[in-house]
């Protein structure tokens, strides 16, 4: 049983609302995680190509914050945090327009109090939001939430080789030029310039040609960046809509945005901080894979770092669950030394140019994944696996049932990770639920 209670003053409320608005551009529901010193709102989009996270500092952001959880909760035995998911539209409607509603000074919101009532013995879980307005008016909203295990995308900042930082207003100027129908945004340095170009991957002909989105390219000087450390002519492409959503929010906080990435087809992170709020977005990139990028892991090595052959996978995969190769990676990486725990989620996503990935986590068609893995290859970027999710399998299943998405994305690594000692003893695609009883996960 967990209790969570916090208050927001009007300015924090406005920024909280802003964060929810931004999250709403990525997903229908928001994941809420509470810990002793922070609250995290996150969302993963349906195609799992974009993950957004807002981390609120308990002391700096909230005017009051308290959280407690009873340890040894049978549902959540090893956790010191509480997590749940809420339908975003419902949550947004509570905040909609209210934070900025100052037409009537008398009844303007003076404080917003949020209480989470987690009572396992009752059927209903409730999040109670109270708006304390002037003249003693109190507006209360009771929302239902769903208790789920949260999926996080992990981005290893230490491994990113390319990085730039720029004031958000400059990026805001750039996105103004892109049309609404623009699809992909390619970012690359060219001499002393940085270029942002939109393109489409759709092939059209005949009369349809005229319906193609306008290709826009905006070139700015590298001097506009606070720092710019990007491999020359390295192209990475991300979704324009995601980029716009992020920039619009970033600009509202007036923060400087930092982008970090390694290379195309690996995740790119956009991050910025503002007054007790840390905003991080992990986006799937696409682009021309440059094998001579000085990666240190040549293609051969890359391709060999793959799970065992397919037949094993098929035999171990329940017929109802079409599990892509991802669990194998998760299992593998969970066995890595702690130093590597926060490995990037971007492994195995290398592929030929402009392949359309549906997911941050699952390559749609990467033939090399069937090759012999290189077990010694520690340089390989890795996926993380939250050990707590092993036991929370039922939670994951229930969520999958809900979303209809059967791949198991990475979960955050905060717990013990050394459970699996022999990473290859178990065919990697086997579900965690199936291998209980072997003594490894009990």
């Amino acid at each position: 049983m967990a209790t969570l209670s916090f208050s927001l003053n009007p300015s924090a409320l406005t920024r909280f609302h802003g964060a929810l608005n931004c999250l709403a551009k990525f997903s229908d529901s928001v994941s809420i995680e509470a810990e002793y010193d922070q609250l995290r709102l996150s969302a993963l989009n349906s195609t799992k190509t974009a993950y957004s996270s807002f981390l609120f500092d308990a002391n700096k952001f909230f005017s009051r914050f308290s959280f407690s959880i009873r340890r040894g909760d049978p549902r959540n035995p090893s956790s010191d945090r509480f997590s749940c998911q809420i339908y975003l539209k419902a949550l947004l409607s509570v905040f909609k327009g209210r934070a900025v509603d100052s037409r009537d000074k008398d009844t303007a919101i003076e404080r917003c109090e949020v209480d989470l009532i987690d009572t396992p013995d009752q059927a209903e879980c409730r999040l109670v939001i109270k708006m304390l307005c002037g003249k003693g008016v109190i507006k209360s909203y009771r929302l239902t939430y769903e208790s789920v295990a949260i999926q996080h995308a992990i981005f290893d900042k230490a491994r990113s080789r390319n990085q730039w930082k720029i004031e958000s207003k400059f990026l805001r100027e750039i996105i103004e030029h892109f049309s609404h129908s623009a699809e992909q945004l390619d970012i690359y340095p060219e001499g002393s310039k940085a270029v942002f170009t939109s393109f489409t991957t759709k092939v059209t002909d005949g009369r349809e040609v005229l319906k193609q989105p306008v290709h826009t390219s905006v070139t700015i000087d590298k001097r506009d960046f606070e720092d710019f450390l990007v491999e020359e002519n390295l192209h990475v492409a991300i979704n324009v809509k995601d980029f716009k959503a992020i920039i619009i929010h970033a600009e509202s906080t007036k923060a400087a945005i930092t982008a970090r990435y390694t290379r195309p087809c690996r995740p790119l992170q956009l991050a910025y901080e503002s007054e007790g709020m840390v905003c991080e977005f992990t986006l799937m990139t696409r682009g021309e894979q440059d094998e001579e990028s000085g990666d240190g892991s040549p293609p051969a090595t890359q391709s060999s770092a793959r799970p065992p052959p397919r037949p094993v996978q098929i035999s171990n995969t329940p017929t109802t669950e079409r599990v892509p190769s991802l669990p194998s990676r998760s299992a593998r990486s969970s066995a890595k030394p702690p130093a590597e725990k926060s490995g990037q989620l971007d492994s195995l996503l290398k592929s030929s140019a402009y392949m359309d990935f549906d997911s941050l986590f699952v390559p749609v068609d990467d033939d090399r994944q069937w090759d012999e893995p290189n077990y010694e290859d520690d340089t390989e970027d890795k996926l993380g696996w939250d050990a707590s999710a092993d036991l929370g399998e039922s939670n994951i299943n229930s969520e999958k049932g809900k979303t209809g998405n059967e791949s198991v994305p990475v979960t955050e690594q905060r717990q013990e990770h050394n459970i699996v000692e022999d990473e290859q003893a178990i065919p990697p695609t086997q579900r965690m639920s199936q291998i209980r009883g072997l003594g490894l996960f009990d």
Binding site: V218, F225, F228
Partner: protein, 345 residues
């Protein structure tokens, strides 16, 4: 086949394309030696045929080269209009015909410059806020780090609009509509006011009619006489409203083109004579058309160019608007011609 030019008058061009794009998605753009023609022929609604002397929107860098001396393009006019928005306030803007693979493109290249705010308005340097130079590993010649203060930023924006090159044979069959001489010609009042009232009327009629036949858009009745009066009216089951302007100008026709006897025989002179009885307000002297309210609203979006508009009424048949851009009144070279059909009562 080559076309390129610097844009001389971005805001006019942007407004012009925005007006056209309200009527249709595709525009036929015909680049000639002396003029550029834009034609929008939607499946339904008003046609517009426009011609601009090249110096209205282009400068002396205007170059058109092709076998026939003419380039015909099919342009998504909305996309062109949006792209031109990037060019407002730009230092320079160039439009040219190019290719990406097999897809011909109109490429708009805009150079915009602005000043960084610097750290403060006075440009006093603050040591703790330094715009650091770009990182190492970059081949730019080292220049002193622009520290703190305001600095000119340059942004280059390229907008590539997919177009289709039309063969001469495709456009040969397209002709401007021919109409008989108008019954009434009159200079319209300010389009801001006219549009506001028209839109208001349309909205009123739409809302009241929503119960029965919401599918059909309300029809405005527009009529004018040769004695400086224009009437805008709408009639629905539950309301009947009208607005009348008086003291407008019925422009004289160019005596250079027609002899006096020819002028006297024009329908408009007959209408002028008919209207003279009863203080110029005689019913017979009015020419009337019935037009689609929403379509009319889209036509009037040309008001953003603040042009001078001559409306020619052909009684119960059609309304033709000659829209002259500001400053070109004397030459009458830049002209948009709108052909609006009248609906039968």
């Amino acid at each position: 086949m080559r076309f390129r030019s610097q844009l001389a008058n971005v805001s006019t061009f942007a407004k012009f394309t925005a007006s056209l794009s309200s009527l249709g998605k595709i525009c036929w753009m015909r680049l000639e030696e002396e003029v550029v023609r834009f034609t929008v022929i939607p499946d339904q609604g008003t046609q517009v045929w426009a011609q601009l002397p090249i110096d209205t929107i282009f400068d002396n860098t205007y170059t058109v080269q092709s076998a026939t001396g003419v380039i015909n393009l099919e342009v998504p006019i909305g996309a062109l209009s949006k792209a031109l928005r990037s060019a407002t306030g730009a230092t320079s803007a160039q439009l040219r015909l190019t290719k990406n693979g097999v897809v011909p493109l109109l490429a708009l290249t805009v150079v915009a410059s602005s000043w960084t705010a610097g750290d403060n308005a006075l440009g006093i340097q603050q040591s703790n806020q330094v715009l650091s130079p770009a990182g190492p590993g970059e081949d730019r010649p080292t220049q002193p780090a622009p520290v703190g203060g305001p600095r000119e930023r340059e942004t280059v924006i390229t907008q590539e609009i997919p177009v289709k090159v039309l063969h001469q044979s495709v456009v040969e069959g397209l002709h401007e509509p021919r109409c008989r001489d108008p019954d009434v010609h009159i200079i319209l009042p300010g389009l801001v006011q006219l549009k506001a009232i028209s839109d208001r009327f349309t909205k009123l009629a739409t809302n009241t009619a929503s119960g029965e036949r919401s599918s059909s858009c309300p029809k405005l009745e527009l009529s004018a006489n040769m004695h400086g009066s224009l009437k805008l009216a709408i009639a629905a089951d539950t309301l009947r409203i009208s607005s009348v302007w008086t003291g407008l100008v019925n422009p004289p026709l160019d005596p250079g083109q027609l002899s006096q006897t020819e002028i006297d025989q024009l329908p408009s002179e007959r209408m002028r004579a008919l209207g003279t009885e009863g203080n110029g307000d005689e019913e017979a002297g009015w020419a009337k058309v019935r037009i689609d309210g929403k379509d009319w609203g889209r036509v009037l979006s040309v008001g953003r160019l603040s042009p001078k508009v001559v409306a020619c009424f052909i009684h119960e048949t059609a309304l033709i608007l000659y829209v002259y851009l500001r400053g070109s009144w004397a030459g009458e070279d830049s002209c948009l011609t709108y052909y609006i059909n009248s609906y039968s009562p």
